[in-house]
């Protein structure tokens, strides 16, 4: 990673990349199950009980960081989350965190899709399993991209492609939520590309649990 790349770390120890043009930090990867588990162990909301997480795991099982490879790396990501639950997670993360709007997500994508992927030396101070997960996902994604012949840009490295669909706020046609991203076909079949700048429109985003929908957050410094 170039010297100009600036990261901060969320309360679970996961990196967020500073994007100068956006004036915000953005999660390097979609929110993972480990981050979600920190949230689950900290909040007292009765809705986030064992059964809630069981539903999510049934939709997209958990993989331990050491087990991650190019055939399962999406299992590290938390999916099946509804937008309101993602917003609750953002509030737990702290001041300034939010789900991105469609425009913000596209700005991040535009800033990263022409920048070649680079090796990142994560600091030793990161929790061991977080470092393992970041390293294993990076390896897994590179193998997957090489096999499929897709580009290896920073946006790909951040799993904005070959990752999960991600919730974005996009108020239109009586709906508030849309999805951006590009799925690995082994994870789920959905013909969609973020390159057009339009969001995918799930029919019942606040009711259904879609096994391939996750999210990432922005943080704007106050």
């Amino acid at each position: 990673m170039s010297g100009a790349t600036l990261f901060e770390y969320d309360r679970a120890g996961f990196p967020m990349l500073w994007l100068e043009d956006l004036g915000a930090f953005v999660h390097w990867l979609p929110v993972t199950k480990i981050q979600c588990e920190h949230f689950l162990c900290d909040v007292t909301d009765s809705s986030f009980d064992a059964a809630w997480y069981d539903q999510l795991l049934a939709l997209n099982p958990r993989a331990s960081p050491k087990q991650i490879d190019e055939r399962n790396y999406w299992r590290a990501i938390v999916t099946g989350v509804q937008p309101a639950e993602a917003e609750r997670f953002a509030r737990w993360c702290g001041e300034g965190y939010s789900l991105p709007t469609l425009r913000e997500w596209c700005d991040v994508y535009a800033a990263c899709k022409e920048v070649p992927a680079q090796d990142v030396a994560w600091p030793d101070s990161l929790p061991g399993r977080v470092r393992t997960l970041l390293t294993k996902i990076d390896l897994a994604w590179r193998k997957a991209a090489a096999r499929m012949g897709t580009p290896q840009m920073r946006a790909d490295q951040m799993l904005m492609r070959l990752g999960a669909m991600e919730w974005v706020e996009d108020v239109a046609d009586g709906y508030r939520w849309g999805g951006m991203g590009q799925l690995h076909p082994d994870f789920h079949g959905l013909l969609f590309t973020p390159d057009h700048g339009r969001s995918a429109r799930p029919t019942r985003p606040e009711i259904d649990r879609l096994s391939y929908y996750g999210f990432r957050l922005l943080r704007r410094p106050q």
Binding site: A12, G13, I34, E37, H38, L40, C41, D42, T44, S46, F48, D49, A50, A51, Y53, D54, R62, S64, P65, K66, Q67, P127, G128, R129, T132
Partner: protein, 464 residues
């Protein structure tokens, strides 16, 4: 600082709201709590046969320390709690030329807790400032270890023991008891209370040395105490060299070696005693004292001369020198979160918590809940409350220090434990599985069966 180890029940309590020991409803001195960090406690206990000079020694020590401000610049004493009254009585007895009443005011009666004497010694030269938490326990109390365990919860905290023995009285008494007998009584009691004495300091104090027949070199050491002159005149001896604690301690070491030789060769049961103490892994040193410098007249409390203490400070300096308390071990007890579930299944959690508190500060958690269920000094709740939780441990480990050890008791698979394989946690976490199916392949794991001894779990954790 509000969270300190209570001098009465030895649990960690938060005294910010009230200065009352919740276990015994005794008032904890405000100064003890406020100055806990600057004047940390030095836990001491006297053990000895009746009439072997324990109480007299403690009185002489206290009065000697009071006069040490004349030879150690900056030193001063503060008695806390009931210590004021005890020390005042000692002063009056010294004035009257009587020896102290063998029953200390702090001893209590029946099943009441034995209260310690709390005495702050400030600025004791190179040895700093300490608050003596001093328990006067008859050796024979250990014949009923459960009773003494109830009355002196500090037994598990006191890692320095003054073992007071009058060789003269051992020889004179018709029972013909030996020093080994006293140690056996003490050791059996500690073993029944399941208190591990490895690494503890045993300071043998030969009392009433004015009456024992020590070799001339030891007698010469006894009578050449530079502090005796201080007690006689209230002033240091003219042209006396400055009192140097390091030099004094160096001489004490040589004397301890000579006394050990003497014990092995001349004291009945001596070799067995030394061997037994060393075999138990205790640090053993010797000192000799004479609290009064004379013998009372028969059974009378009255003395023919004013009392003059000899080498009274040696056991105290040994305690300060040897007391290298290991840093408090952080232990976490992690339990399954089954809100409202009956606790009949699995190992007895409260008992395990109690045993773990003998070895460190125990914080309790429920799997899937980052916030502690109980803090050190606070017993774990019977069961979790609130919503059901996944068995997750990562967020708990996230907040643990590098030196902490965890005992995790679970009745099912922990969702994220695999994340920590081949990590340092493998050597710091003991997993106890309660379910019927075969135990976990976690590197340190034990499958709990009904009727198992919890010591297996405690030993397993302490070996990590």
């Amino acid at each position: 600082m509000a969270r300190v180890i209570c001098p009465f029940c030895c649990n960690v309590h938060d005294f910010s709201a009230a200065l009352i020991c919740p276990t015994f409803s005794l008032e904890v001195p405000e100064t003890y709590v406020r100055e806990y960090a600057q004047v940390p406690p030095l836990w001491l206990m006297t053990v000895g046969f009746p009439q072997h000079g324990k109480t007299t020694y403690l009185a002489a020590l206290t009065l000697t320390l009071e006069s040490m401000d004349r030879v150690i610049s900056g030193l001063f004493l503060r008695s806390l709690g009931n210590g004021h009254a005890v020390i005042q009585a000692m002063r009056e007895q010294a004035e009257e030329g009587t020896r102290p009443d063998p029953t200390t005011a702090a001893a209590g009666e029946g099943d009441a807790p034995i209260q310690p004497l709390l005495l702050q010694v400030h600025q004791m030269g190179e040895l700093g400032s300490r608050c003596l938490v001093l328990y006067d326990v008859a050796g024979e109390s250990f014949v009923s270890p459960e009773a003494v365990g109830r009355r002196v919860p500090a037994l598990k905290q006191v890692n320095t023991v003054w073992f007071l023995v009058s060789l003269f009285d051992l020889e004179q008494q018709t029972e013909k008891r030996t020093i080994t007998d006293l140690f056996n009584v003490y050791l059996s009691g500690m073993e029944q209370l399941r208190i591990d004495v490895r690494g503890w300091n045993l300071i043998v104090v030969y009392t009433k040395s004015d009456r024992a027949t020590f070799p001339p070199s030891l007698v010469a050491y006894l009578v050449s105490d530079p502090l005796t002159e201080l007690a006689r005149t209230g002033e240091p001896a003219q042209n006396a060299p400055l009192f140097s604690i390091p030099e004094y301690v160096q001489e004490m070491r040589a004397i301890s070696g000579a006394l050990e030789d003497y014990t092995r060769s001349r004291v009945r049961g001596g070799p067995a005693f030394v061997n037994m103490v060393r075999a138990k892994g205790m640090n053993l040193v010797f000192s000799l004292t004479s609290a009064l410098g004379q013998s009372p007249d028969g059974d009378s409390r009255y003395l023919g001369h004013h009392a003059l203490p000899y080498r009274i400070l040696d056991p105290f300096l040994w305690a300060l020198t040897l007391e290298r308390r290991p840093p408090t071990r952080g232990l976490r007890l992690v339990l399954c979160a089954n809100p409202g579930a009956a606790t009949g299944k699995g190992p007895p959690v409260a008992e395990i918590w109690g045993r773990l508190t003998d070895h460190g500060e125990v914080t309790t958690h429920f799997l899937g809940q980052k916030r502690a269920a109980s803090v050190p000094g606070q017993p774990p709740p019977g069961s979790a409350t609130g919503r059901s939780r996944q068995r997750l441990i990562g967020p708990i480990l996230h907040d643990c220090g590098a030196e902490e050890r965890l005992l995790v008791i679970t009745d099912g698979e922990i969702l994220d434990l695999d994340d920590y394989r081949q990590s340092p946690w493998c050597d710091r976490l003991l997993l106890v599985t309660v379910a019927e199916e075969p135990g976990s392949d976690w590197p340190h794991s034990i499958a709990w069966r009904d009727g198992d001894d919890i010591e297996v779990l405690i030993d397993g954790l302490l070996r990590l």
